[in-house]
């Protein structure tokens, strides 16, 4: 079996018999570069991943990285080809009720899971029901599926998903790997081991082995012939296998690309951007990221962040252009709004609203009664303008940005203390609201979901809205956005929301990142979703 597959692959990949022979007689220990060249000839894509994760089960994970791997193992119902645009995946067609509470999908009839069981409406139901089952402890998927009510199996290949309230972003969720369809038989059979030892979907690649914190091996699904129309072919994937190796240290990951140990790496350090861009044997992929860029949350429940002038002053005191130039090598762009420019409904006007103007910041503080003290730090009554900034030690850029912001704010008389805490201590502090400042950065493709995470009062008081911003108008606006399917109306609402949070100086938007990937010149045909999060290797070939 194995043998046939390999030969067949070699034929497809156009590798001659001579090359095969050469690779077989190659001595076991040679210059590693030559050894990798041999690996390439057999069609294995080695991928340098920036960190570990919790599980391989896309339903229960909280990691984007798991989505990156998982998208190869599961197929989504639909594919997203641009903001608000969708193409068939496992679903061939769909209809949406005007109030966005009922979605009906027609499914492909020729699809089988890796374990041989057929894909059908029941599988969709089981997958979605499992997401909302408390025992599953789903998180990312749980927030993507939103106000889910139930799934009805209309017939063997037709399924109807109902929501308790309007969920205009459901197709966006369904296009993400996290709502990818998993095999009910395998879930049933493996229980707690599902996602840990085995993970079964209908995708072009199958899980071969998983070694925690080390590597995930995927192997080509030999029966795959239901590639989505948006791709260049629909049969077997060209690659024989994909190996995701976890290489947390930035410099090391880059080194693996240079030595050829990795053919593809994620999270390319901006520092090395130029070098890679000009390297003749490497290709740099730069995709503006969907979601919410790097920003600063200001906790309104802790004085003096409850004072609008102080928050405004912070906005004007931070030199975003300088920040992206120094810390981000000008590869990130100064941010304007809680949404990145590629997001549906992004408001260009927001870029004109907040300018770097330290004098303006000083004036605002003076007017609010904060007078310069003897050491330059402002005081009001007995109180010094001392602010606590909580952050995690990694990524390193966290600390660089913080030092920059600290220096900026010092110029207008704010004394910022940096508290660098490991994950447990950090979350404890910010969930309890002991911070004045903390970072936020989020990837995603649905503006409604982003706005809810950042600004809805239901997420205040220990949730993700660590601005602890509570505003009924805002809540209503977000809920309207979520329930509105009409694009023009939806856009108008999203613009209003962005302007409102800037007028009320809820957060400071710092830098909009691109997703940076790099690969060897021999690799071609990499597809990345428009949000920049999921490099997909179905169309990918390796050519020497």
């Amino acid at each position: 079996m194995e043998h046939i597959r390999r030969r067949e692959f070699l034929r497809r990949a156009g590798v001659t018999a001579g090359a095969l022979a050469a690779s077989q007689i190659m001595p076991r220990f040679v210059n590693p570069r030559a050894a990798y060249a041999q690996a390439q000839a057999t069609g294995t894509l080695t991928y340098g991943m920036a960190g570990g994760f919790d599980t391989l089960d896309v339903t229960t994970t909280t990691f984007t990285r798991v989505g990156r791997i998982g998208l190869h193992i599961v197929d989504p119902l639909v594919w997203s080809t641009g903001a608000g645009q969708y193409a068939p995946g496992l679903a061939t067609s769909w209809t949406i009720s005007p109030d966005a509470t009922v979605y009906t999908f027609k499914l492909r009839e020729d699809v089988k899971f890796h374990d041989g069981t057929p894909f059908n409406a029941e599988a969709v139901k089981v997958t979605f029901d499992r997401i909302v089952d408390p025992e599953t402890r789903a998180q990312t998927a749980f927030s993507f599926i939103g106000p889910y009510d139930r799934t009805e199996v209309v017939d063997r290949y037709t399924v109807r998903v109902r929501f308790k309230s309007g969920h205009a972003a459901f197709l966006n969720g369904a296009s993400s790997p996290y709502l990818g369809i998993v095999s009910p038989a395998a879930v049933q059979r493996y229980g707690r081991d599902f996602g840990r030892v085995v993970f079964v979907g209908t995708g072009p690649f199958m899980l071969q082995s998983y070694r925690t914190d080390a590597e995930v091996r995927l192997i080509r699904n030999p029966n795959y012939n239901w590639g989505a129309r948006i791709f260049k072919h629909d049969g077997l994937p060209y690659l024989q296998s994909i190996v995701y190796r976890i290489v947390p240290e930035e410099a090391t990951r880059l080194a693996t690309l240079e030595t050829g140990e990795s053919l593809f790496i994620e999270d390319v350090p901006v520092t090395d951007y130029q070098r890679l861009k000009s390297a003749r044997d490497k290709v740099l992929l730069e995709i503006p990221q969907g979601g919410s860029g790097w920003s600063l949350m200001m906790n309104q429940t802790r004085a003096p962040m409850n004072e609008l002038p102080v928050r405004r002053a912070v906005m004007h005191a931070i030199d975003k252009e300088g920040l992206v130039r120094t810390v981000w090598n000008n590869i990130y762009k100064a941010a304007c709004s809680p949404l990145t420019p590629v997001m549906f409904g992004f408001d260009q006007e927001t870029c004109r609203k907040v300018t770097y103007n330290p004098d303006q910041a000083r004036r605002l503080l003076e007017e609010a009664g904060w007078r310069a003290g003897p050491d330059g730090v402002r005081v009001k009554g007995n109180e010094r303008l001392r602010l606590d900034f909580y952050l995690q030690p990694t990524p390193q850029k966290n600390q660089e940005m913080a030092a920059f912001i600290q220096a900026n704010l010092r110029q207008v008389g704010m004394d910022v203390t940096l508290h660098v805490l490991a994950r447990a201590g950090y979350l404890d502090a910010v969930r309890q609201g002991r911070h004045h400042f903390q970072y936020w950065w989020d990837t995603g493709t649905d503006p409604g979901q982003m706005l809810r995470i950042l600004f809805h009062s239901r997420n205040a008081g220990g949730g993700t809205n660590r601005n602890n911003y509570r505003n009924q108008d805002m809540d209503r606006l977000i809920e309207q956005i979520e329930a509105t399917a009409d694009p023009a109306r939806r856009k108008e609402l999203i613009v209003r929301a962005q302007q409102k949070v800037i007028d009320e100086a809820v957060m400071v938007y710092l830098a909009d990142p691109p997703s940076l990937y790099a690969h060897d010149r021999s690799v071609s045909g990499v597809w990345v979703d428009w949000g920049g999060n999921y490099p997909y290797f179905y169309d990918t070939r390796i050519q020497r």
Binding site: Q139, R196, R245, A255, T259
Partner: protein, 307 residues
């Protein structure tokens, strides 16, 4: 001898018990709710938070949690990670191979370097050779390991292309991390070997051997080396635990899965069962290795007998 062994093994139990209790108490002093950490930056309602707390078994009194763990451990069940639901034993054992490989290779590097540098400098005492050897040994202990590791990668992987940067399996993937980790341990060892060799060189029995006309190389091999080995074995016994569990930086830089990294990650996630399992494992290895060290004294030094 057997009696001694039995006694030592029996003493292991209370130590392990104490270690597990200590870890348990210390971890509970660390601020942070595991359920909150579980949700991280994801949105969550208070109800769901409470639900996850219950699933993690955190609603039970501390004593009950500890006794439960202990009961499980007696039966060989270390429980499941509260975050990933994976069996702790599996999490630990899946990393032992890689950790042990690295620790042993580093051990060989440290032992080889330490022994040879120490021996050379002692035999050529107060010459430039002595100074050079000791300076080299000191060089190892004077460099933060992540710096050393980064430079090794730069020179030997990127510039020269001799060794792969990362990974496990295959001896050529082990060379750089083992050298980084071993080099730093070799300094202590080299100095120790040097002083213990110097000490022996003046012992009456060595002088006697020499005056009997034994060749210098034979004197060194027969009498001096053995004594130096005692020092090596002692220090390495003490260090093996650290090589095994404290290699977190080496593991991170060279992207190797390992017990050290597991432990650090588990602490930062407050994953009690996982931390406990890993610590117990490391403690056990430490105890066993040091027992072996003590036993090896009897072989290396005939004057030592166990009762």
């Amino acid at each position: 001898m057997l009696q001694y062994l039995a006694k030592r093994l029996l003493l292991t139990l209370p130590t392990l018990l104490a270690v597990s209790l200590l870890v348990f108490l210390m971890l509970h002093l660390v601020p942070g709710d595991p359920a909150i950490i579980f949700f991280g930056d994801q949105p969550v309602t208070p109800e769901r938070l409470e639900q996850v707390r219950r699933q993690m078994g955190l609603h039970r009194p501390l004593l009950v949690q500890y006794l439960d763990f202990l009961g499980g451990a007696m039966r060989g069940d270390l429980g499941r990670s509260i975050h990933n639901n994976t069996p702790v034993l599996e999490e630990v054992t899946s990393r032992i191979g890689s950790s042990a490989q690295l620790a042993l290779a580093a051990f060989v590097v440290a032992g080889g370097l330490g022994l040879s540098l120490g021996l050379v400098s002692a035999l050529r005492r107060s010459t430039w050779v002595d100074a050079a050897a000791m300076l080299m040994a000191l060089g190892g202990v004077s460099m933060p390991i992540f710096w050393l590791a980064a430079m090794l990668i730069f020179v030997f992987s990127i510039k020269l292309g001799w060794f792969p940067v990362t990974g496990f399996g295959g001896w050529n993937r082990l060379v750089l991390p083992a050298f980084a980790l071993g080099f730093v341990s070799s300094a202590t060892l080299a100095r120790l070997v040097r002083s213990s060799v110097l000490e022996v060189l003046w012992q009456p029995y060595v002088t006697t051997a020499r005056s009997k006309g034994l060749r210098e190389t034979l004197v060194v091999r027969r009498h001096v080396l053995k004594n130096a080995l005692i020092a090596v074995v002692t220090v390495m016994g003490l260090q093996l635990g650290t090589l095994l569990s404290g290699a977190v930086i080496t593991e991170t830089v060279f992207a190797r899965p390992g017990v050290g990294k597991l432990m650090v990650d588990a602490i930062s996630a407050k994953d009690f069962p996982l931390v406990q399992g890993a610590v117990l494992f490391v403690a056990l290895v430490y105890i066993v290795v040091n027992l072996l060290v003590d036993l090896s004294y009897a072989y290396l030094d005939p004057r030592i007998r166990f009762e």
